[in-house]
């Protein structure tokens, strides 16, 4: 079984992002970039399925700038077998990204595609579901457990009220939630080995898809700030403030 894992290069989760001074976009100058944390979980799950003998090949793919090769190398160091970069200089919207990914998947014909549930830059939470629609594949979002059973997969999903288990027929699209696994760190020998693994680079224009943006970014502002708070000295003072000043308890 072949597994394709789409990954995204995003701002590192420790970075506090601010708007540009003209508020035309976010300021990403000189900030640390990493693989989206949910994509690390996706790679980890695919590699574990390979280690368990369920999968035979793990392919990492990204739609992004040439700099995204860095995150593809990380994926290779974490255990992916080969990588594909669909190169573009513009930052595409999830619909266009899904269209590009759909082309790759039609060609590679994997049985399982594992994505992150959400990229922590745009917080869109769309790409996996869109990809499933474009391919008319089954989908299991927000997975906290995956088991492959013949030509289907049983997936436990983290939903608002608790957990839900569904059975999806393969090929399937699965998106990862935080508790699916704890990703490993790449070891130095594996980082060295990753340098020799195959990376295929194709321009997005070669796929023959419509990538024109549908949304216009009008502005990016900082969020409303909160009025400065105070420190209370005791539990008694806290309760009194909540009753008499904030009036949120009685």
């Amino acid at each position: 079984m072949k597994i394709v894992v789409p990954i995204k290069r995003v701002v590192d989760y420790n970075v506090k992002v601010r708007p540009l001074s003209d508020q035309s976009d976010v300021d990403l100058n000189n900030v640390k970039m990493s693989m989206n944390p949910f994509c690390e979980i996706a790679i980890e799950e695919a590699v574990r399925l390979k280690e368990a003998g369920t999968a035979t090949e793990v392919i990492a793919v990204t739609v992004g700038t040439s700099a995204s090769q860095e995150q593809l190398r990380t994926a290779l160091a974490l255990g992916a077998d080969r990588a594909i970069l669909i190169e573009t200089e513009s930052s595409l919207e999830p619909l266009a990204i899904s269209k590009a990914l759909a082309k790759v998947i039609e060609k590679e014909a994997p049985q399982l595609i594992i994505l992150g549930k959400q990229a922590i830059d745009g917080d869109n939470n769309q790409t996996g579901q869109m990809l499933a629609a474009l391919l008319n594949y089954s989908q299991a979002t927000f997975a906290s457990e995956i088991s492959i059973e013949g030509d289907s997969a049983s997936v436990t999903r983290e939903i608002d009220g608790g957990l839900q288990t569904i059975k999806v027929s393969l090929p399937a699209i699965v998106t990862t939630d935080l508790r699916l696994n704890e990703p490993r760190y790449a070891s130095l020998p594996n980082i060295m080995k990753a340098k020799k693994k195959e990376m295929d680079i194709q321009p997005v224009d070669s796929l023959g898809i419509d990538t024109a943006p549908r949304l216009e970014l009008i502005s990016v502002e900082p969020p409303a700030t909160r009025a400065e708070g105070i420190k209370v000295e005791s539990v008694e003072e806290l309760v009194s403030k909540l009753k008499n000043e904030a009036k949120v308890i009685s």
Binding site: Y13, T141, I159, P223, K231, L238, V248
Partner: protein, 309 residues
């Protein structure tokens, strides 16, 4: 201009997030219809018909929709989509699962988790864990949108008298099937609907210690939440998680106990009206958003707080 709102329900009850989503629909303007997709869910359709400002309720009631799986639900919504300029759903795990699938079927770029309607085609939404607020304008013919419930005051669930119209199942899919569910049962209010939330973090040290929070929650009629670290450590179930990738809450009072205040946690609670932080580290970032900060050991402070209520 007319808007279709996808109702969230469990085949018996309409979920409150639907009422917040309707408020966003009203802010867009034009007529508003509600779509109920489910099985043996006439009671939900009746509840929808009574909601203030709803003109028509579409009801797709069929065994195929018992668990509202994404494939069949998205296909059904697509079959009625042509009549609408806007299609909205709450940004809950239900809406997040179904709406992007619909969006791609319609060849539309969805706008996720809006917090403000600027005009019929322009919306505000948080990005980068709420570090920035983007204003985006959609040039798609149909606007497909998920709505952050806490950003819109709910419409009234009474006073309406909409007609109910049956919709024939369309595009029922067998790509996936329901196996089972573990839904947490609790006598406390639901996290996203509670007016007071008390959350614990890694500082709680164990699941057993959460009873210190539960005692207080019961006195205040509050819901109990948690940081990701507390959920990952297995102290409490996943549906307690508040934050960028968990639940978004904005109660009148949020009490954070033993939570450091990582940006991913703040993303889920910083729009609360009043924030209290209890932490033994006076430099913990949570104090930067707290209206009332108490530097104390939680194992001393919580029993004392309980006694004072």
């Amino acid at each position: 201009m007319s808007t279709l709102v996808i109702a969230e329900h469990d085949n018996s009850n309409l979920k409150p997030s639907t009422l917040n989503t309707l408020a966003a629909a009203n802010a867009i303007g034009g007529s508003v219809h509600l779509l109920v997709v489910g099985s043996s869910c006439q009671a939900v359709a009746d509840a929808c018909a009574a909601v203030d400002g709803v003109e028509k309720v579409l009801l797709a009631d069929d065994a195929a929709y018992a668990n509202q799986l994404a494939e069949s639900t998205a296909n059904l919504i697509k079959s009625v989509a042509a009549d609408y300029s806007h299609i909205l759903a709450p940004a809950t795990t239900f809406g997040k699962n179904v709406l992007p699938r619909l969006s791609a079927l319609l060849d539309v770029q969805q706008i996720s988790e809006i917090t403000e309607v600027v005009s019929e085609d322009t919306f505000k939404r948080p990005i980068y864990a709420g570090s920035c607020i983007a204003t985006v304008k959609s040039n798609d013919a149909t606007k497909v949108i998920t709505v952050r419930a806490t950003a819109f005051d709910p419409v009234s669930d009474s006073g309406g008298s909409a007609t109910i119209e049956a919709v024939t199942p369309e595009g029922v899919s067998d790509l996936s099937s329901f196996v089972g569910e573990e839904i947490a049962k609790s006598d406390r209010p639901e996290l996203t609907a509670a007016s007071i939330v008390i959350s614990g973090g890694r500082g709680m040290q164990s699941g057993d210690n959460f009873h210190l929070l539960e005692t207080i929650a019961d006195k205040l009629g509050a819901a109990v939440g948690a940081s990701r670290a507390a959920v990952d450590a297995g102290f409490v179930p996943n549906d307690y998680q508040v934050g960028q990738t968990g639940k978004i809450v904005a109660p009148d009072l949020y009490i954070a106990v033993g939570i450091s205040g990582a940006i991913q946690h703040l993303a889920g609670m910083k729009d609360s009206k009043v924030i209290v932080a209890i932490n033994k580290d006076e430099d913990a970032p949570i104090f930067q958003v707290a209206d009332y900060g108490l530097v104390a050991d939680l194992f001393d402070a919580l029993p004392e707080l309980s006694d004072n209520l």
